[in-house]
Symmetry: C2
Subunit: 552 residues, 2 copies
């Protein structure tokens, strides 16, 4: 069927889809309501094709030396490791126009084998790309078109729970462990990491660390950088083995230098993580607020008021409309919600919040009661737990929706940033305006949705989703997307936001990075890379390469 069987401990019985998100047989179809909503705004789309890679001839791989570990040069395996899962990746995969495959997929299973691959890379001038779950949406795992022979190193061999210190709540796991495998291993012993990025079903611990991932429950559990107590990194010229420590004043924290290093400084092989006993209960309540300003104020009041929530999300009015259409559209709560909206006459401006609490039943109850008190002055109406259960059930399935929209010809992409609370209004307006420009000549304005999530006392992340008619020509599709990304990156930086709150830099954001770090900060990072990877074999095209690769 054109799909390579790729095994991992987490998906031993499921086939990964080669040209879309996730697993074969899974999906999240666009509802007729959503398609109508989009068509009304953008016009009727042209279906975007799907390519059968089984029938295509892959270019012959470069001749490679012995890498000292299991190595595959099989075409479908190379294709399965050719791209991440950003919009242009799906365009290239679906249209059979991937410009560059890795020449081989290496599968080391221990430190010694990994070192052998890096030694060969140093000696032969190979380009090495570490691969965890392959879910990058920043071009972080894509072989660049201008590269020397490329070896993608699949880290699935570095998988599983190695040690659990139940006194300290510290679990050491291999970097190739996927989200489900990690939680299964921990939960079997009564523990959880509680790190749930949207990519959780596919992505790996090493990828989370390399990209400074934030899970959907980061408000309660912290970001991955809060959860990593120690880690090991194998570099082309050196090793870091940083022990698990609760805190330290012994110089700058080298863990924090590895976090976010995106395979540029070395390959993360294992980490000691701060884990917690499994909670008795998890509750997510849905709340409506009259408008965006009230919702932002309520969110800020909750987090600055120390209400110990596990999760907070606030959709803007557009995303609330779509959530009603897509998510609630098929829920028995939809009529209730719609009725309420009509009754209050605030339909277009209403914003949906999700507030989650975890822990003992009593703690969850007390927390939500505190949230009720704190948000009352902001005009909240509480809808109960139904929509929250719905969201929890679907939260890892939302990425499938993109493939369903592709089938009918709509493109969709997401991007995200973070900013202090005082900058939320300006950033929301600036980025919204930049994205809402028509995606091309003759196109309608681009519908843009936004939500706040991952709130902090001093600021919050903003997550934008936008839709456009996808041209059938893959180069044109990618070019239009690239133009929107450039506008968005410029707008984010003009409004004081960070280039990324949790997706990372990869290849696609890299030209904008010096603006955020400053030239001297960028130079420092490049120098660290030189020290650990003097020949520039590990991912030199990501993070610290200013080349615009949005259209590769």
């Amino acid at each position: 069927m054109g799909h390579s069987k790729i095994t991992s401990s987490a998906s031993a019985d499921r086939q990964l889809r080669l040209d879309g998100w996730g697993f074969v047989g899974e999906g999240f179809a666009a509802s007729s309501e959503l398609l109508a909503w989009l068509t009304e705004r953008l016009g009727r789309p042209q279906p975007f094709g799907s390519f059968d890679p089984a029938g295509a001839e892959a270019p012959a791989p470069a001749t490679l030396p012995d890498l000292g570990c299991a190595t595959s040069i099989e075409s479908l395996d190379r294709l399965a490791h050719a791209r991440g899962r950003g919009f242009p990746d799906l365009v290239r995969l679906r249209s059979g126009t991937v410009p560059r495959l890795p020449d081989a997929v290496a599968r080391p299973v221990d430190d010694r084998e990994l070192e052998a691959v890096l030694t060969a890379g140093n000696r032969e001038g190979l380009r090495i790309i570490p691969w965890g779950g392959g879910t990058s949406v920043t071009g972080g795992v894509n072989p660049p078109t201008d590269a020397a022979p490329v070896v993608t190193v699949d880290l699935a061999g570095f998988s599983g729970l190695e040690h659990l210190d139940e006194v300290s709540g510290l679990a050491t796991l291999g970097a190739g462990t996927t989200g489900p495998a990690l939680e299964a291993a921990l939960q079997a012993k009564g523990w959880t990491l509680g790190h749930f990025p949207q990519s959780w079903e596919l992505s790996t611990l090493g990828g989370w660390i390399a990209t400074r991932s934030a899970g959907q429950e980061s408000l309660g559990m912290g970001r991955i950088e809060d959860l990593v107590a120690g880690l090991d990194l194998t570099a082309p010229a050196g090793r870091l083995s940083l022990p698990a420590l609760p805190a330290s004043a012994a110089g700058p924290d080298l863990r924090q230098l590895v976090l976010g290093s995106e395979g540029r400084f070395g390959v993360i092989t294992r980490a000691a993580l701060r884990v917690r006993p499994l909670a008795d209960c998890q509750r997510v309540e849905a709340v409506l607020v009259p408008d965006w300003a009230s919702g932002v104020a309520a969110s800020r009041a909750l987090v600055q008021g120390d209400v110990p929530l596990q999760l907070l999300r606030l959709s803007d009015a557009s995303e609330t409309q779509v959530a009603m259409t897509v998510g609630l559209g098929r829920s028995r709560f939809a009529p209730l919600v719609r009725g309420w909206l009509k009754l209050r006459g605030i339909g277009d401006q209403a914003c949906l919040m999700l507030l989650g609490a975890s822990g003992s039943h009593r703690h969850a109850e007390t927390t939500l009661e505190a949230a009720r008190t704190v948000t009352r002055p902001h005009g909240t109406v509480w809808l109960g737990a139904g929509p929250g259960r719905h969201w929890l059930a679907d939260r890892f399935r939302h990425p499938y929706l993109r493939d369903g929209l592709f089938d009918v010809g709509f493109g969709t992409e997401t991007l995200e940033t973070a900013v202090p609370w005082s900058g939320v209004d300006r950033l929301y307006r600036t980025v919204g305006e930049a994205l809402s420009q028509p995606s091309g000549d003759g196109e309608a304005p681009t519908p843009v949705l936004c939500h706040l999530s991952h709130p902090y006392r001093d600021g919050v992340s903003l997550y934008f989703t936008f839709f456009f008619r996808c041209p059938q020509d893959p180069d044109l599709a990618v070019a239009r997307w690239a133009e929107m990304k450039r506008r968005a990156n410029d707008a984010i930086q003009a409004a004081g936001g960070t280039l990324s709150h949790h997706h990372g830099i990869g290849a696609w954001h890299a030209p904008w990075l010096p603006q955020e770090t400053g030239d001297d900060g960028w130079r420092v990072l490049r120098q660290v890379a030189k020290e650990l990877d003097p020949h520039g074999i590990l991912n030199p095209h990501v993070l610290l390469d200013r080349t615009d690769r949005l259209e590769e």
Copy 2:
């Protein structure tokens, strides 16, 4: 009177003491009970002299170029900037045997003047030492004996509140702002940073950042690295200006590279800090537990049980005895406590805990009630708020005790580390044994006290205090102390602890740092230093110099 008048915004009306802790006229005398306790264990000491610097001739300073800012070569000013406040600093200052003074004290007042100093340093090969409050206990501000002309840069000119963003709770302050000046500026507007290291009355924001400081209320407020949202650094070859962001996935966090850089990468000039509204109430309750093991278990249960305490300290049995003698000895609660101890027959093993809660009155009440419930299985007896009030009143005065002990001839020093909970027992035993060896031939075993503080879910800091008879010969006094420090550093590393939880590395811990970072991690830090300070003018003798300078 032999004291230089050193002004800062925090101490405009108080003179700093030149040969001891803090301000002239302040003190914390050793009680007769404490002196009896020490004499019983160590024997009668010989008083240690005090030197009048006003009468001494300072060596002539090296001829220096124009530094582009106000510069002093006055002897007392140079002496006032010659040493930190570790044990050997006090020995050298009190005995008039400081081996090296800075040749000048420069006082830039803005970025331009600071850059001029660094430019002169690059051009003339000067050794530049940034100076905040001068409270280093790791040799972090001492001119090395083997150095080129030394200019100490006093950053008092970079002082004060520059900006307050009340929506985001972000305050931007100059790095030279002292603790009292910082809190005064914030509290005048209803805000607080809540960062209270023991050195708070003297130390500065820049020093806290440079050394990864932790305040006594770090359990509730976080460490300085949790409180810094953005910062500026001026280096001999570059500048970092990292904006305030709540979180980011835009590559490795450069803020975390500056935190703990100890003036090696550049001079921190300002920072944007996460501040909070002033709490309505602060309560500290004293609790006794039957023994150390119960206390450790209770502490771990509190922090892993998410009881939102602001502060937790657990003294071991020895420190509890001394606290009773010194602290409670003069309190009206002492008879009550002693009576209780006798009644229970657990006098020698009882351990004192202090548990603090802040916020609204109701939140503090609820938190302490939760603490009562969580600790009950560990045999706690609650003593009320009296001892806590006592501790709060004296907490910044404890360092004065060291000078009082010096006067009669006892030396005392403190050191600290952190370790996962599973390593607490081993570390407590290993370091305790290493320190309790006699300080010299013919000396009795060294009394060692310890407390846990700064607990985290996965571990905790251990803080050791030890006492010895101070030889009257300053070189011998320093040599004995150095031998104890070497044994302690070795023991900490053998037991898996970090070299420092909040004092930093400075010059004195630097030879042990590669063991903690690994050689490759150490090499990375050195490379960062080279990139920002290619001529090695800024503090090259601290953090990344393996020379043993304990006896300088």
